[in-house]
Subunit: 429 residues, 2 copies
């Protein structure tokens, strides 16, 4: 999801002497709501001309080149790539088939950073668990030499919190199974749809030698549950051949709206450029990078702001630690928050709990004590598409996207024009 | 979809002398609506224990064995397989990838009875057409050596009629492209969903040597349309390696509720046992065979009917001519129809046009002048799942399935207890 970090130094008194027109932010907000085309143009272009862009892949490098050209064409300044390095991983073949007693193919995908089966796959009996806790409680002899299947009870939640609650099934079950001697671990996809689309997402083996780790689509997982419930031994042939590609390049793409006052600090607004490789990453996170760029452009086009606004399109959000970093809050100035809430109310957006969820893109900054602001989306249907092949352009509603740009524009304007001291990070040289 | 053919000889006067209680059909109907579990048990069992069952495949043979056991266990008589032969076809590898100018993978599936690319695939420029008519009008030199892409404008229709209207894109475009020298033809899936599930379905080359013929999922088709609209040459690498398997076995599974009067004729009720190989065929047509068997069992359990009721679970509906056979009507006795309509009204089912759409399973009988009756389903969302991997058990709503059983029970009871002469076919020896 898109994230935004707001971190400005003390504003000079000059600002109080010549305050901006009080309705300027509202005007920008309403203009974005009615007619923003920048965000949709970015989402359409990135999904069509680049498509899937897994972190560390050649496609992610093409996405960075595309991003530089796009951000320059939009009029941003200081557009550049900050190179990074990362541990690469690429998907291989992936097939699953029940061999006995009910032969049929199943739909599977490897979890990010999964180990591999032999090239021709492996065949083993499936042992099923209805939760990560049940797997953890099982003796090693119940698991050794088997394909472990772990289910769970994830359901949609308006705030998306079920992803956090059931996330350990994906992140930890493969390592737990490996430690107990399983030959592979497959999970019921962490998702809330009923399509034959398995949901990928990163798993972590820590110091445990990785084994093959995959996710079945939810219809397939339920079919396997029915088979296991019939009581006969169920045998599966599983092929997952991803590979680690060593130390590979990634990078963040930066663009700025230079402020008028170098002492006024920097506001960071960010999303992530990389996507999982199954879909074209329209929701996650072409929409996010589109929204933050469109928002910054709204402010830029209305006149040069006092603080510098820095747009960051991050690389490697997904495989480097999606969802695993701390969700911590820092929110120091309630007066600014009041004005943000007032400016968002006309969009049907109500005030939240005051807790910032800056996610993987900007979470580390918030953790370090930098002031942050965030807008929460309706998460009810988000996990229907999350990390699946179905994350494609058609899922993005242009009117909803404009509403997002309008909301972020209203918030960014309020922060860029805040009279109060918020906190300090140094502007980038 | 499920189909039912009603074909009974003259009923003797004895019936008039001792008519069944007038509310007996309604009682059976309401019992089915409230509590039928037979249909769901069949759908659950067939999709779990057999799964995909392509006509002519080893899986279809397993389905026949499963069906015999199931129909016997339900108490039907004269349960047996009538062997048939057919021309076999099996899916192979299937991948599609844009090579330039916007490299990315696409989701493709082979159409039934498609030819094959070389094992390593082929690479060619894509030439796009927005309709079958546009392809037909194109000169051969615009097509020769290229991969033809044909789109269309199929949208949901409550009566499902858009499938008939756009069906020629799937059935004919590959042959048209082949005749003009295309190396392969891909179409926008005949479907109305927005998932990364291509819709298969049979195509026909007639006397034209088959070339590779596939369907892109709708999100992929729209992505390709956007690429082509940008004006640069688009190159695709396509691999489709299905193969024809020669003369292979198929068969129909028959079960009967013996009537008390051999002269009272036979009522045929049918659905098809085979399914496409991508999904588990829960909707198409495990639900259909479940409904007709549950319906016949309702009648059987209420006492022996005068005419024999013959349940037929057909093989090879899908690849042998789905949708291609004539939709013709025969409906000779409006008095029976009046009573059927009255018995269905409490289920919220209204009277249709009087035209029978007996489909591929029983269409040939109707065409030959045998009286038929049919119930039309809401087709609005049917083509979201039709012939896709998403045709799985979770799509079947138990309450809707019971309503179907109730409706068919009401209709079958009315026909089995009709006082009028309907028409005649001889009972099977």
């Amino acid at each position: 999801m898109k994230k935004m970090l707001l971190a400005a130094a003390a504003l000079p008194l000059l600002l109080a002497a010549a305050p901006p027109a009080p309705d300027q932010g509202a005007k920008l907000r309403d203009a974005a709501l009615a007619g923003d085309t920048v965000a949709m143009d970015i989402v359409e272009g990135l999904t069509t001309e680049v498509g899937p862009r897994l972190a560390g892949s050649e496609a992610e490098a093409r996405a960075r080149a595309w991003a530089v050209q796009k951000l320059k064409s939009l009029g941003f300044r200081n557009v550049h790539i900050e190179d990074t390095r990362m541990s690469g991983w690429l998907r291989g073949a992936e097939t699953a088939e029940i061999v006995a007693p009910y032969p049929q193919k199943m739909t599977v995908t490897a979890l990010g950073r999964s180990g591999a089966t032999p090239p021709g796959g492996l065949t083993a009996e499936v042992v099923g668990f209805d939760s990560l806790a049940a797997l953890q409680a099982a003796p090693a002899e119940a698991v050794k030499g088997k394909i472990v299947f772990v289910s769970h009870a994830m359901h949609p939640a308006q705030d998306g919190s079920s992803y956090g609650y059931y996330g350990p099934v994906r992140r930890s079950a493969p390592a737990v199974g490996a430690q107990k001697g399983a030959v592979a671990v497959i999970i019921r996809s962490l998702g809330t749809d009923y399509h034959r689309n398995p949901h990928t997402g990163v798993t972590s083996f820590g110091d445990v030698p990785p084994i093959a780790a995959g996710a079945l689509s939810i219809p397939d997982a339920e079919n396997l549950e029915r088979m296991l419930a019939r009581g006969k031994p169920v045998t599966m042939h599983l092929t997952l051949t991803p590979r680690f590609t060593g130390d590979v390049p990634s990078g963040n793409v930066i663009a700025e709206v230079p402020g008028t006052d170098p002492s006024a600090g920097v506001i960071l607004v960010g999303g992530h450029l990389d996507s999982w490789d199954l879909g074209t990453g329209a929701i996650d996170d072409a929409s996010g990078v589109g929204i933050v760029a469109a928002t910054a452009k709204q402010i830029m086009d209305s006149g040069r702001p006092r603080p510098t606004i820095r747009v960051i399109w991050f690389g490697d959000e997904e495989t480097g630690g999606c969802g695993s970093k701390a969700y911590r809050a820092s929110h120091k100035d309630e007066k600014v928050a009041d004005r943000i809430a007032a400016s968002l109310f006309p969009l049907g957006i109500t005030r939240g709990t005051g807790t910032v969820e800056a996610g993987a893109d900007l979470g580390a900054w918030v953790e370090a004590g930098v002031a942050g602001a965030d807008l929460s989306q309706d998460g009810t249907r988000y996990f229907d598409y999350h990390h699946t092949p179905d994350d494609t352009l058609d899922k993005v509603d242009p009117a909803q996207l404009r509403q997002n740009v309008a909301a972020w524009t209203a918030m960014l304007w309020q922060v860029a024009n805040a009279r109060e001291e918020i906190s300090g990070v140094s502007p980038r040289k």
